[in-house]
């Protein structure tokens, strides 16, 4: 009858470790939200930043939010994507506008 005790003990240990990691992450997140996030938001506000500085290889990967939808393919239609980072960004879901909204010219 020792094997099941060992298994239950091992599973309990795994759950305990996982719970500790999750609790640790909660406390880290609350500390970072208190200390770092306001400071980063201050940077965004004063420098008027719009994007994360992650991919610097091309204009449309450095500022994905500012790029045109077709920018990765601007060299010629149906050209293949040059940069690996461009492959991470999924295509925007296109919703066709089916209603006509009157507007002033």
């Amino acid at each position: 009858m020792r094997k099941h005790k060992f298994f239950l003990g091992f599973t309990f240990l795994e759950l305990l470790l996982l719970s500790t990691l999750f609790l640790y992450s909660r406390s880290t997140v609350s500390v970072l939200n208190r200390d770092e996030v306001p400071a980063k938001r201050e940077l965004v506000r004063y420098l008027k930043l719009t994007d994360l500085s992650l991919w610097t290889e091309a204009r449309y990967t450095r500022h994905p939010s500012q790029a045109d939808i077709f920018t990765p393919f601007q060299d010629f239609p149906s050209s293949l994507e040059h940069f690996p980072a461009g492959s991470i960004i999924g295509p925007e879901s296109i919703v066709l506008q089916t209603a006509i909204t009157p507007g002033r010219p």
Partner: protein
């Protein structure tokens, strides 16, 4: 007590084929670790982006010319700021600089007026001509820091020397790694921008509910503009770090398919040895329900152990080792990729979904073929 005895027997049964089951747990845990790493990484980056980019301007107005982003005339600033509901319309000056020394691209930003001391800046913001502030990535590429000088080649192919008055702390790398901040006047001169033109216009709006209306009014007033709202910016990062998009989906689906093969292999049949064991158990008086419970425990032992080990490995990989295995996928061709610590945001809902998608099919694929064998006559099972 009866359940514990069946669990004890299940463990003994698994230990009889210990090398097979240990390798099964290793593969299963690795699959879970890959799946959970993708989920942890994308969720963490997504939440980080949504938390810090919330203070981005309400609207960015670009000018399009022949389908491409073009410099915007300063007259547009006046007409936009006169639209009711607009708080301010400020021109932004920025551009890209390719550094042939380090083969990396920098982002140059021009600022106007006094900016108070930023808590993530070591030193001070530029206040005089030919002064700049740099990101940690630029500093490490050019091996310079606060107090040093930074030589760049301007649009007229002339060297310009800037005095570095400050460096952004590495904590802000995710925002500032490739930045060089200088006065707007210096930036206009550096890029030789035509007079009366800016890169784009940042607009603040008093009432967030009016953003779409004001964007429409700007489009009506200047048909060559493209207003980008804050919600569109946030949505972009939601799409970029969505686990369903691009390469992340490729990794995720590969791991999921590997798992499906594993589960399918189990579900399509059990070995002759296992059939023989079930036959003997039936012959010595075990009920079909007992055998199903035995197989349930076998499935739970393997899948729960693998799932928990995989989750722990994924957490350590992503949040303690900064996703060293997945980061080359995200890094792409960036020469200047920021070294930043991932914030351990965790979505419990995603973990439950992952558990449901992996543990449940594995346990089901263990029970179903055993049930088929258990309802067959024991003599036939033992003879087959």
């Amino acid at each position: 007590m009866r359940h514990l005895k069946i669990l004890e027997y299940a463990l003994s049964s698994l230990l009889r084929r210990k090398y097979r089951n240990i390798s099964l747990i290793a593969v299963y845990a690795l699959t879970i670790a890959i799946l959970a790493s993708v989920l942890f990484l994308t969720y963490s980056l997504k939440l980080e982006a949504s938390h810090i980019l919330i203070d981005t301007p309400d609207l960015i107005v670009q000018r399009l010319s022949a389908g491409r982003h073009d410099l915007i005339p300063m007259e547009y600033v006046k007409t936009i700021s006169e639209i009711p509901g607009v708080g301010s319309a400020v021109p932004r000056y920025w551009g890209y600089y390719y550094d042939s020394l380090s083969h990396s691209n920098y982002t140059l930003i021009g600022i106007d007026g006094d900016i108070p001391g930023l808590s993530l800046l070591e030193g001070r913001m530029p206040s005089a001509p030919r002064e700049c502030v740099i990101g940690a990535g630029v500093g490490s590429m050019r091996i310079v820091g606060t107090g040093d000088t930074l030589a760049l080649i301007n649009s007229m192919n002339t060297g310009v020397v800037f005095h570095i008055t400050g460096t952004f702390r590495s904590v802000s790398n995710i925002l500032t790694n490739d930045l060089i901040v200088m006065s707007s006047k210096d930036l206009v001169q550096f890029f030789d921008l035509p007079a009366g033109r800016a890169t784009d216009i940042a607009v603040t709006i008093h009432n967030p509910n009016e953003v779409a209306t004001i964007a429409g009014k700007i489009r009506t007033a200047h048909s060559d503009t493209r207003p980008i709202t804050k919600s569109e910016i946030l949505r972009t990062y939601d799409a970029v770090f969505n686990w369903r998009s691009g390469i992340m989906l490729t990794i995720f689906s590969s791991a999921l398919i590997a798992f499906c093969i594993l589960a399918w292999d189990k579900a399509t049949g059990i070995s002759a040895e296992e059939k023989h064991e079930i036959g003997i158990l039936k012959a010595i008086g075990w009920d079909t329900a007992d055998i199903l419970e035995l197989k349930f425990w076998e499935g739970i032992v393997i899948s729960l152990t693998s799932f928990l080990l995989g989750l722990i490995a994924a957490y350590i990989h992503v949040f303690f080792l900064n996703a060293t295995i997945l980061s080359p996928v995200i890094k792409g061709w960036s020469v200047l990729f920021p070294a930043f610590r991932l914030t351990p945001y965790i979505d419990i809902y995603q973990i439950f979904v992952l558990a449901f998608l992996t543990v449940t099919p594995y346990v089901a694929s263990t029970i179903i073929p055993s049930w088929k064998t258990a309802i067959t006559d024991p003599e036939n099972v033992m003879r087959s």
